[in-house]
Symmetry: D3
Subunit: 252 residues, 6 copies
């Protein structure tokens, strides 16, 4: 099967990390294609940049998702996740959503670890929006910026391990999810020194997307992921506008 | 003071209704200016259209908000509310946020009434995101579409009154908030036949925006409404890009 | 418009502070009148004193509220708030209620700061009773008693600033509400050294009361703020007994 | 042991019903004394009357509780419960609190049944304040007023049974608590036709008060039920003022 | 890979249905083995039977799980799920847990549908225990007993479809999970007439187990799924006793 | 009356401690009988051991409970509590359930203190399952194992007092419940140095069981504690099998 990984940020290095992380969970016969934002934020680091990125997620999915069997959001705030589910009939999985759901099968107390203190409340709000707040025992951050993380991956490792130990000691977390596309593919490094499993959201999302394809669910005709029709939206690409007109008729 | 009302939908009639509703709460000396989306959805009726509209909210605010003393979101999903708070140092108030907060001073059990059953879960999720779920005793809808509501306002009145009576009888609501920009300025009609107060979100937002200006709070330097700086965002207008570079230096 | 500020405590200095704080948010044309408890607790510092003060709130409002356009409770536990709403048809606003609602428009994570550790659980319970617990990230206290706070206001400032920094560092609060009538009018002092906005509950309540008047809501005929009639209550003043007999017929 | 039952309402018939209900759970050697409000509401039927009754609860307990081994609040809103716990070192138990706690040992889904629809939200708020909301599956009411209930007890029975059946059918309640002092001693009647246990709050409170005495807990020196000292409260009886001065030195 | 399906009930027909449902999600190369309880309840229909079945789940897993790559609990109360996670280092997935997690990627409002009204609260409690209560909009039941369901599968279909329509209409569910091992493999039938996706818990569990294997997580050394060692348990099989002595050394 | 205390662990010393604690709350005329597990875990210290112990709880109760007026679970995870309620028509009370309910009448913020950090999440989950999470302000542990606690009771005292002081200081707990059968009868020791009441779960359970007997509630015919009938369960004792066949006909 083909899975499209969507990174709405403009940073190719993040896309590369997301793709590398995705391959760690791809089964034989799965092909992964990753695309990068052409405009919008360099890296999402605020609510405002996340707002801007929403349209780019939909545009990238519309431009590249026509023949995909599933779409994975390679952006750790799962930007426009439910919007995608209205516009695409194939499974759409968010990397942090998938990480939280997978983590829920590993431990009762989940720790979420991200880059930059300012992002902590955004992940707390995201977990709450998923109705998973009761399972998230801690959200913590290492004070390293994405760019720095990409430049000095090994320097990040120590900070991650220290934060994991802190969450384990203070909050008794049973499993840790790395939240931040820039952290993609760093789980193995962090795992080496961690007493609890460390999950990579992209890997979880690819694994979960494959599982969703295994289930062969029919499309909804009503409800939160039901296709749209007759919506008149301008200022977007013809491919995206066509999905608003009738997302069920689209080839994917 | 000057308050900018932002309607990211492309429907001028909604903007007109929003502006009319706003005037009902404007105090002497307050001037209201309302702007309409230039591209994006005709009327937001899905998560995907709400995702698309986020950027337009920021663009309209950046284009027209420079000299505003406060910004009111005239879109009932409060699209991009927290994003605006990062980009603007003046008070930014969402119409549904304001309606829920004002309603909380009227009754312990709030009812929210909107257009179209499909929107019900979106308002439930919005109330939960505001941490107000415990106060919202019911979210109900009249099965009338925004366009129809604008065309036949009096036809809507009966449906609203029936729904209000239903929420009162079944869920014991003490106060009702009309949620839906297309319902703006219909509160008075609905009130005439309602045993409990009926609130208009735009009027509440204008009143609350004036109150926020009365408080003369200093800008944050940290936290959820702290100004952004140094964010590199492309594909947006120069005015909006400048706010991402340094929202505290902007004139408003 | 005329707003009555009710302080059921017997301490005139608290009333003076409440009135001074109220003026900071009064708009031109608003007159404020503040009244002080004649019997009951010197300063409310326990659940038992709060129980005793409930009747005095109602008596003061009945004695002085006849021509008020709104009533503000200048007592930080919002003593008898919903009771007043049954007995008065004008808007009644509690200072801590208003502070929490206004703070919700500033930040996603609210910090509440009061005087005396023993009061912390009472404010946590009050926030929960308002359905706002999800928004309150921290309730903390400075170990200074009200009398001391009034006597040495400047000595209080350092303690407040240290506590604000602590709540910011440990709990990531975006905005701080000073809860405690004895702290009224100390917000400006605390603000000077705070990275996040510091709200005064009385100022918020006056601003919100003015906003409620701007909305010109009709009285309820059912529900939590519906007028009472035919209630037979003895041992209270004739004015208050009359309100229990028919609160809708009362002049205010 | 001696247990004081406090009914702050002015209706002797309610006190008689409370006392009768209490005796059904009194063990050999337990004596019950019930007292009635001398001023305040005839029967609490609103938030405002409940506010007024708070002081009378404290006055009655101060006047008659000196030699009691425990105090039971024979008022179904548990008026001034935590206030009493600060002023008295003996166990103080509320009738609805006790009913909810006992019901929690009978079924996972508790139904609360009261008199008058207007009271439903007050009991929902009370259950939430006790942190028991997750256990209360339904709060329902029979539209009969307390006076009528006392006058025509048998007429009430059918209404209660119909409501119990409705709560069982629609909400799957496993156990029902009758909330309303005027319903005291009607549990046996209602039980006769109920498939699930029907609890009387006063009986539960007497049983729980006896259990608390069995435990012989020492008084707190800190926390929610720690004695008060040095509180200066005027406008109350000397006995009550003395408790505010030092509740630990009082004979009970 | 090999996945062991554990049905602790003594009914072979349920095991057959569970196995058939599992195959619908098995990917090429996955082998499924299903085992049936040798003693305990015929079909779990009460809390007491669920308590008895806990040990049989562990015994069956210990007896047959040695060479399994993952274990799926084919019992809809996910009996002994976390206990298994302590005793086995391979992924262990519960059928209802998996159904809820997969459903969370399909819709925001999940409906759970089971057999027999008496089971409704057990599933509500299970969803709450998983921290998923906020996502479960309705738990409903068809009043058909497992034995009857197995005997007349087609008769069940109509009842299921009616219940799905009811949950859709009244609670706005976006996706439905069939909860009840006896319903395994009936999802396709129900799906045919459903406007929203209908999930089979066993299929979801097999798909999720395969996904967990794809992730190749290391075993925990601390936390909720960390292996046990040195626990002295008698009255169980040597294989199970050995796992209590040291579950990390066991071959699976 | 006769109360049966059930300790499913195989450690007689725990049973002795449970019985000693029980006597501290037994009233004149109450006889206590305590029984010990014959097989299963030595001491429950994991979820897996708790799963194994469930059947032993039911077997012990069936073997010894025939003439009991109430059953108390002398195991601090309240193992199989609701299962027992289906199988026995007399009151069944769990020691931690009782401790939490009694503590709720003492303070608003309950602290739970157990043995071994690994048990902390289990008690948090238990409190949540009882719907009491909002009342539990802290769950903490002393890092002493049950065997050690039994061997060196006085050594445990210091650790308990330090932990109580820590919970008081950091979380403001008003009352502390000792959770852990091995801690039974240590409450008095811990109380001597504690500023807040320290509760023993077994004593609370005996007191509450006596209170439940005082209430003389009729058996349920529907709901969570309704008797079972016609359940076919094998691999259990004839006495227990008979209860599954018809628990209402059983002598107790």
């Amino acid at each position: 099967m083909k899975i499209l990984l969507v990174n709405p940020n403009r940073t190719q290095a993040v896309t590369d990390a997301v793709l590398a992380a995705g391959w760690t969970a791809a089964r034989p016969g799965t092909s992964l294609v990753a695309v990068t934002g052409r405009s919008g934020p360099l890296v999402i680091g605020s609510r405002a940049e996340n707002a801007i990125a929403q349209r780019e997620v939909l545009e990238l999915a519309a431009a590249h998702g026509a023949d995909a069997d599933a779409i994975v959001l390679g952006v750790s705030l799962d930007t426009a996740l439910w919007a995608c589910r209205e516009l695409f009939t194939v499974p759409v999985i968010g990397m942090t959503e998938a990480g939280l759901l997978m983590a829920a099968t590993v431990g009762t107390r989940i720790g979420v670890l991200t880059l930059g203190r300012a992002m902590v409340p955004l992940y707390e709000e995201l977990a709450a929006a998923y109705g998973m707040a009761a399972r998230v025992a801690a959200v913590d951050a290492v004070d390293i910026m994405p760019a720095q993380a990409l430049a000095q991956p090994h320097a990040v490792r120590e900070a991650l391990c220290a934060a994991i130990a802190r969450m384990r000691e203070r909050r008794g977390v049973d499993v840790v999810l790395l939240a931040g596309a820039a952290l993609a593919s760093m789980a193995a490094d962090a795992q080496a020194a961690s007493p609890v499993p460390v999950l990579d959201g992209v890997a979880c999302a690819v694994a979960l997307a494959q599982a969703r394809v295994d289930l062969r669910l029919p499309p909804s005709t009503l409800g939160a992921d039901a296709p749209l029709s007759g919506r008149d939206v301008t200022g977007v690409s013809p491919a995206l506008a066509a999905r608003f007109k009738d997302s069920s008729r689209s080839s994917s």
